[in-house]
């Protein structure tokens, strides 16, 4: 890489990470009243949740897009978080509210994660099998799968026992405002574990941007690497969905912004910026909405609005080329 481009990458990364830090600090302090120890502890938990989610979503989106060789599809667009919700609903429906409530939340989460890895792996095989994969078809199939999973969940929720439904509601309807504190630690640990597995493979991931054949030609075991990365993506999606629920266009937004800002295609350069942007959007956005706009609307709605428009813009631009 020429030195001026390397400098531009460093500068962008520095600015984004600094802004992320500032947003996080603002989230912790702006509009605080009363006892600082209470405020900081209370907000600290939520900050940890937001950062974990930002991290998981940014990472999973960029990885997924490298894997599928495009910049429109994200795990969320493909309905993977809807799949996670369906899993949770199925579980409560099968065990009953009392049964599901009796199991340790973290154990349950681990089980759900595993099921998620298996099921989404199946879905991935189904959609991306063969050589002549057709992007518009895959987008369409993904959106349909998402709708299917969501309808199945809501159908089950309608026919289930009201008591079970309450248990499910407590578990599954997380949002940026309400996070389950017990899960934050697990989700953060999972994200760190994923990172540890990822770091030694960043260079191979870069090669994977050339596609499966290109990577194979350069001596990367593309099939094995893809399977591993896909499992990691499934774990990250589980972690973020368990914490704050589905976020359809958030990943798409931060990943594409990162591609736009970073003048390099290396994952080591793109990933930190994507994570930084995700942290800025979540903590900064949540702070603005809560403190300045007085909970006027939900952050996920704003993000999906902006992200949805970005999605359409990218779709139109790719279509024209």
């Amino acid at each position: 890489m020429p030195p001026d481009r390397a400098r531009a990458v460093r500068l962008t990364t520095g600015i984004v990470l600094l802004l992320a830090l500032l947003s996080a600090a603002a989230f912790m302090t702006v509009g605080a009243r009363g006892s600082w120890s209470f405020v900081l502890a209370h907000r600290g938990i939520r900050l940890a949740a937001l950062i974990t989610v930002a991290y998981a979503i940014a990472l999973s989106t960029v990885l997924f897009q490298t894997l599928t060789g495009n910049r429109i599809l994200t795990p969320a667009v493909m309905g993977f978080d809807a799949l996670f919700l369906l899993l949770q609903t199925l579980l409560v429906a099968a065990l009953g509210g009392a049964g599901a409530g009796a199991i340790d939340g973290r154990l349950l989460f681990a089980g759900e994660c595993l099921a998620m890895v298996g099921l989404s792996g199946l879905l991935f095989r189904l959609l991306f099998r063969g050589e002549g994969r057709n992007l518009p078809l895959v987008v369409l199939a993904g959106l349909l799968f998402g709708a299917l999973f969501r309808s199945l969940s809501s159908f089950l929720q309608r026919v289930m026992d009201p008591n079970d439904f309450l248990v499910l509601q407590g578990r599954a309807f997380a949002s940026f405002n309400v996070v389950d504190p017990a899960l934050i630690g697990v989700a953060a640990l999972l994200s760190l574990a994923v990172t540890a597995m990822l770091l030694p493979r960043l260079a191979e991931l870069d090669v994977l941007t050339l596609g499966r054949d290109g990577a194979t030609g350069l001596g990367v075991d593309a099939a094995r690497l893809s399977t591993l990365i896909f499992a990691l993506v499934a774990v990250l999606v589980s972690a973020s969905t368990a914490l704050v629920g589905p976020t359809t266009f958030f990943g798409l937004l931060v990943a594409n912004l990162a591609y736009l800002l970073v003048p390099s295609a290396r994952h080591a350069d793109v990933l930190p910026v994507a994570v930084g942007l995700a942290v800025i959007t979540l903590t900064g956005g949540q702070m603005l909405l809560e403190r300045l706009l007085g909970f006027g609307t939900a952050l996920s709605i704003v993000i999906d609005f902006v992200g949805g428009i970005t999605f359409l813009l990218i779709l139109f631009r790719t279509g024209r080329r």
């Binding site: 890489m1 490298t66 260079a203 090669v207 050339l210 596609g211 054949d213 350069l218 001596g219 075991d221």
Partner: protein, 252 residues
């Protein structure tokens, strides 16, 4: 030496490569020709271990391509496919630098940077080295991918229809480049080609495929004749001898 031993590949009901056995000795330029759907690209992909054969074996310098670790193979064998779409925004230099991956596993040394620059110069893209691939013309992009396989510096280089999208000037430049590659000691270039005239002009040896089988194999002067045109390509034409080279003209 590339040994192809009774290789077959089926897609559903269609047998694309049908029990092909072929030995390609080291050195020189080998062209694989044949009508559309003859299995040329599939055969090349099997040799380049991008596609798994249903039956048979391919060995490169004695290494079975299906079982040898990818990294070891990547230092002996490079392969460039017909379609090279990259979603990421890469510069020419980024792309060509990937060719060094089998040697440095993503940790480029000073030597690697020099080889990358050399490869870029070899295909005449030095002025475009820091431009993004999506800012290049089709022909320039094609040459950038060729430069990547050059940087990979494998003993066997496979190219699947590399002349697609190229005008005659760039096609000739690229074929000369392949000729130079094949003339280096110990380097073998295998190219799938459409144009028989190009094959006759630049290749040391021509392998003809038809319906997944080998229908001809030998130096251009022996293989390319009127019978080949009518039997394999189903066109009437004449093969002329011009300055010691075979030239094909087709009937109007």
């Amino acid at each position: 030496m590339i040994e192809i031993d009774r290789v077959s590949k089926r897609y559903g009901e269609a047998t694309v490569v049908d029990d092909v056995s072929l030995t390609i000795p080291a050195g020189g330029v080998v062209a694989i020709v044949g009508p559309n759907g003859a299995g040329k690209s599939t055969l090349l992909s099997i040799v380049g271990r991008l596609v798994r054969a249903d039956a048979g074996r391919v060995r490169v310098d004695g290494l079975d391509v299906a079982t040898t670790p990818g990294r070891e193979l990547a230092r002996r064998l490079s392969v460039m496919r017909q379609e090279n779409h990259v979603a990421a925004r890469l510069t020419v230099r980024d792309l060509v630098a990937f060719g060094r991956f089998p040697h440095n596993r993503g940790r480029p040394s000073r030597d690697d940077a020099g080889r990358v620059a050399e490869a870029i110069a070899f295909v005449g893209l030095t002025a475009e080295a820091d431009r993004f691939l999506d800012q290049l013309s089709g022909g320039q992009r094609q040459r950038a991918f060729v430069a990547m396989t050059l940087a990979q510096d494998a003993d066997y280089a496979l190219f699947d229809e590399p002349l697609n999208n190229l005008d005659i000037h760039h096609a000739v430049a690229l074929m000369r480049l392949f000729r130079r590659m094949g003339d280096q000691p110990g380097k073998t270039v295998v190219i799938v080609l459409h144009d028989l005239n190009v094959a006759a002009t630049y290749a040391d040896r021509v392998v003809v495929l038809k319906d997944g089988r080998v229908a001809g194999d030998g130096p251009p002067a022996e293989v390319i004749d009127e019978r080949l045109l009518s039997d394999v390509f189903r066109v009437d034409g004449e093969v002329l001898e011009l300055g010691g080279r075979r030239v094909i003209t087709v009937a109007r």
